[in-house]
């Protein structure tokens, strides 16, 4: 009888022990963010092919004075993806003038010249570039060239199209 009582007491104690065996463990992760200033993108110069003639292709190089140019201002040293929406044709009153062979060049140094810039191919896929400097605000200039290909019977007129540059930090 005494043994039974002792075992019962032990069981009660053990059940109590089991009920209090909850154990805590902890783990950490970090929450991180990098704050940049807002970036501005300005279409600064029109890509201008000037006069072109039926059947004669005409190219504008990124280093030409009539290349297209975008001016960017953003966070120094920040990485940026450049993505373009490019027309396949310039249009005039329903007529198309094919445009292609796009060329690009970006320059993060403190001038707005294409001299010494870094070449890339503008497209709908992101091109990775970077602002210069180490802190504060920095500038970048992006130049765009292309080739138009008038047909032999190209209708005369003024042809226009839109080139859109989207820039995003990454």
């Amino acid at each position: 009888m005494r043994t039974t009582t002792r075992v019962s007491a032990a069981l009660a104690m053990l059940l109590s022990l089991a009920a209090s065996t909850a154990r805590a463990q902890s783990a950490n992760i970090n929450a991180t963010a990098t704050v940049y200033q807002a970036m501005t993108v300005t279409g600064a110069r029109t890509l201008d092919f000037g006069n072109v003639f039926p059947g004669v292709n005409k190219a504008v190089a990124v280093t030409d004075a009539t290349s297209g140019r975008f001016d960017l201002v953003g966070q120094a040293a920040a990485n940026v993806n450049l993505t373009f929406t490019l027309p396949a044709n310039l249009t005039s009153a329903g007529n198309n003038l094919p445009v292609g062979t796009w060329t690009g060049c970006w320059n993060p140094t403190a001038n707005n010249s294409a001299s010494g810039c870094t070449a890339f191919t503008p497209s709908g896929s992101a091109s990775a570039v970077a602002f210069g400097g180490s802190s504060g605000t920095s500038n970048m200039w992006v130049f765009v060239g292309a080739t138009v290909s008038p047909g032999a019977a190209q209708v005369a007129g003024t042809y226009t199209g839109t080139v859109t540059l989207t820039a995003a930090y990454f």
Binding site: A10, A22, A24, A27, A31, T32, A33, V35, Y36, F170
Partner: protein, 153 residues
């Protein structure tokens, strides 16, 4: 008789005490907002496979785990010079068991919650959130700590 009693006690202890080595909680991915712009609130969804924070928790099937986050309200700027406000909403945490039939549970990371592990002995906890940089927020890197405390029953 005493010897038998002692053996019985040891056996009961072995049966009633959970196996310590089977329970664990591990931080496996930071909650990473990446680049945020001054003056622009930026969110990370708990289901984001890259930016959401993530913990792994393992215990025992049919047992309970109480999970409690310790969440920051500000992320200090690395090197000093300011704090970045951070908040967590009622749907910013998801628990997902590892079994094929486990159903994800969305819950409020601001409050503790207890789960009973009915389909798998382990699960992942994903954490989202949002930061609200001021228009004049100092640029730079900000970092804080998220702690998950699990109580295993």
């Amino acid at each position: 008789m005493r010897r038998c009693f002692a053996l019985l006690v040891l056996a009961l202890i072995a049966v009633t005490r959970p196996l310590t080595g089977q329970s664990q909680v591990t931080g496996i991915r930071n909650l990473a907002f990446g680049v945020v712009i001054r003056g622009v609130q930026t969110s990370v969804a708990p289901a984001d496979p890259i930016k959401s924070g993530r913990f792994y928790v393992r215990h025992q099937l049919n047992r309970q785990v109480r999970v409690a986050f310790t969440l920051p309200t500000q992320l200090p700027r690395v090197g000093g010079g300011g704090n970045l406000p951070i908040t967590f909403r009622a749907t910013d945490a998801i628990a997902q068991g590892t079994a094929g039939n486990s159903v994800p549970v969305t819950f409020n990371p601001n409050n503790p919650i207890t789960f009973t592990l009915t389909t798998s002995a382990d699960f992942y906890l994903n954490l989202g959130g949002r930061v609200s940089p001021a228009a004049g927020q100092a640029t730079g890197n900000y970092q804080g700590t998220v702690t998950l405390t699990c109580t295993f029953f």
